[in-house]
Symmetry: C2
Subunit: 168 residues, 2 copies
Amino acid sequence: MTNVFDDPRITAVGLLYEVHAGLSARFAAQLEEHDLSTVEFEVITRLARSPGNQLRMTDLAAQTSLSTSGVTRVVDRMERDGLLTRRACPNDRRSSYAVVTAAGMQRLDETLPGHLRIIEQWFTGQLDPEALAALLDGLRRVRNAVHPGATAGSTDQEVADDCDRPDR
Amino acid sequence: MTNVFDDPRITAVGLLYEVHAGLSARFAAQLEEHDLSTVEFEVITRLARSPGNQLRMTDLAAQTSLSTSGVTRVVDRMERDGLLTRRACPNDRRSSYAVVTAAGMQRLDETLPGHLRIIEQWFTGQLDPEALAALLDGLRRVRNAVHPGATAGSTDQEVADDCDRPDR
DNA sequence: GCCCAACGACTGCTTGAGCAAATATAACCG
DNA sequence: CGGTTATATTTGCTCAAGCAGTCGTTGGGC
């Protein structure tokens, strides 16, 4: 019975994947209560954390797990549902912005607290502070190695400089 | 700029997700060299680690991320490609087994070493033993909490008892 | 100013996955 | 034994996502 699949490396990956799957399922369940899919939540979050609550379609694609055509379609749906709007970029008529509407911001506001609660309940709250720190530290080091260009957070170096009227 | 999205909980999840995405991408790239998709690899692995290199369709679905209809179709494709065969269950004519063929086992043998190398290179090898242990311990605890019925490993309690002629 | 390469968004097509219905079989109960 | 209920798999339909091609726009070289 001493087969390859008991290899600790396999086990390690299995663990990571099970945690991911488990959390994803919890998230999906909670998001569904607010009529949001996982990608819609990701999209609206990325937009909301960006200056002016907007991003060009391409940048949005770069920050999410989607291709540009995927973004086109998610934004289509979300625009239809009133969560987002497209706005033309005044300086470059090829580009357009996806902007979160008031309704979209409200939906996000309704959704976030529960989302944070779930993270707390099933992830961060499961470990005492040192253990959590150790976990995150390990993850961070692996992330930095495997980095597919991530740290996607605020990568907007000088984006939204001259192409943008961030107010409104 | 002190917005909600800098919340450490969000960051923690982001880290986990980036690690997952990064590793998944590496895996997919290596698997593609051997003409296997992620789910195909998951399927063939689950089967190969099971007694007789086979599993009933339903059990296979339970052990993977797929629905039963999803399993039907993956097995369709893999059968067409010669990696798997269906075999009728002699005791229950509703059930059928998916069995790994010799070609399937060979494909898996060709694929696994590289797969393990990738895990080592980008994941387990990134941390010294204690840090890795701490990471895995943290993951394990979160997994046990969020557990969607996982520990999918050798859950086959008394499966393949009377419904099975595990030999050829 | 003109041309051409690069770029941004969108669309047609294909693929893979899930849900729900259909089919076949099994098990149970009287 | 006959009927009802549960279980295993497959199939029809729908939908979301990617790739590759299209169209309009931009910017640089000359």
